[in-house]
Symmetry: C2
Subunit: 244 residues, 2 copies
């Protein structure tokens, strides 16, 4: 049995998230349908991660098994032609038989993009969060360093999260400005449900003075979701890289 | 009566064109509803131009009359808050009483954006035309110069066009490359129905060898739509500037 690994990118604006569900278009379903059509057999893919409705991916990894002898290049081109313009296969290759996109994943990097401007840009719709008030990216970059390390992130996890163990290791958290875009880039060994969006929301609340500077460590210790900031919209969130 | 001029930008991907119609969301209707809500009176706007379904605008001008004493800044901010993210008011000012966005318009500039790449970019969806085969932008730039001047553009007008007089003056037509984007920029005193999309489609056909180089003047003289190239998709078309 061949084990095929695919790197893809997608704009999540038009989808109800990654994972297959009964109602609404999802990335998984759209990709499985295109692959099944091309290969003329029912394909089920193993994704590296779930992403929520409206969240994007610049590098998403999945694998699937097939006996079909199609070349990796043929599979790349053939599926891209069948997929809509907002989902793109970037790379296809063969992997060792026991490779699994989710179980073998060692970590991920997310980026959250904020359009920090009083002027709307209609061409950014659905791919950024717009924020009208000035963001102090240098101050927020310092504040964000408190997220780094192996810590219990229960305060930064949606109430809907069903994980017993809420301890995760954050490797890096950087806030940088590129003209009117402020980018928050965070990498770690794993992320809880809504964790990145709540961490970004907490930084936004610090910028607004709704949460005091220097409080992130204390909020982490409190293990209480209500002490952290808002959950920002999914539009600005990108799964950037997946580590193996 | 105050005469208010507005400069706006919009992403047309989600709309059935500019002009109000019975079925489907249009830019005009969405803007009129936001203004009517803000000013608490029924507002009708005079747009500078129609744009087709899926076509975008970086600078679209319209005017409307009101007795409301609201400041131009208040109107800008208030309407932007009511409008969706894909329509943005950029500037609002007061004009002389007889200014009319359409009748006073002296010319326009359009830009057509082609993503010239074998690799799909999911974040360009709906805002470019993707074209897989190499485009020779220097050759096309020379070919496009044949459009310049006062000429009868009947060959470059949709069969649905109901204009008696199909003579227009093209001031400039430039084809430039910016990495994997090829931009075709054309300005003139007026444009027929689908004219820019057929001119771009003709250049694409020349690139493919389906139409011979050096034939544009002959196609213009033939006054026959079937001699020109395809009508390219609306996704890559931007109303760029409006001249008064």
């Amino acid at each position: 049995m061949r084990n095929i690994k695919v790197i893809m990118a997608y704009n999540g604006a038009g989808y109800h998230g990654y994972q297959r569900q009964n109602n609404g278009d999802t990335i998984q379903q759209t990709v499985e349908e295109a692959l099944s059509k091309l290969l003329r057999e029912e394909i089920v893919i193993n994704g590296c991660s779930r992403t929520d409705a409206g969240v994007h991916a610049r590098e998403y990894i999945f694998n699937f098994k097939t006996e079909n002898p199609i070349s990796c290049e043929g599979l790349l081109k053939g599926t891209n032609d069948l997929l809509p313009e907002d989902i793109a296969f970037l790379e296809v290759c063969e992997e060792r038989e026991d490779f699994h996109a989710r179980f073998d994943c060692k970590g991920k990097e997310y980026e959250y993009v904020i359009h920090n401007s009083t002027v709307k840009n209609p061409f950014y719709a659905d791919t950024v969060m717009r924020y009208k008030y000035p963001l102090d990216e240098k101050m927020l970059d310092l504040e964000a360093k408190a997220f780094i390390g192996r810590q219990d992130f229960k305060s930064f996890c949606s109430a809907e999260c069903d994980k017993e163990d809420t301890t995760r290791t954050i490797y890096s958290f950087d806030v940088v400005r590129e003209n009117d875009l402020v980018k928050m880039r965070v990498s770690g060994d794993g992320f809880l449900y809504n964790m990145v969006r709540i961490m970004v929301g907490t930084l936004v609340c610090i910028n607004e003075g709704k949460i005091e500077k220097g409080k992130i460590k204390e909020i982490i210790e409190q293990k209480d979701r209500t002490k952290a900031g808002i959950t920002v919209v999914p539009d600005g969130l990108y799964l950037n890289k997946v580590f193996y």
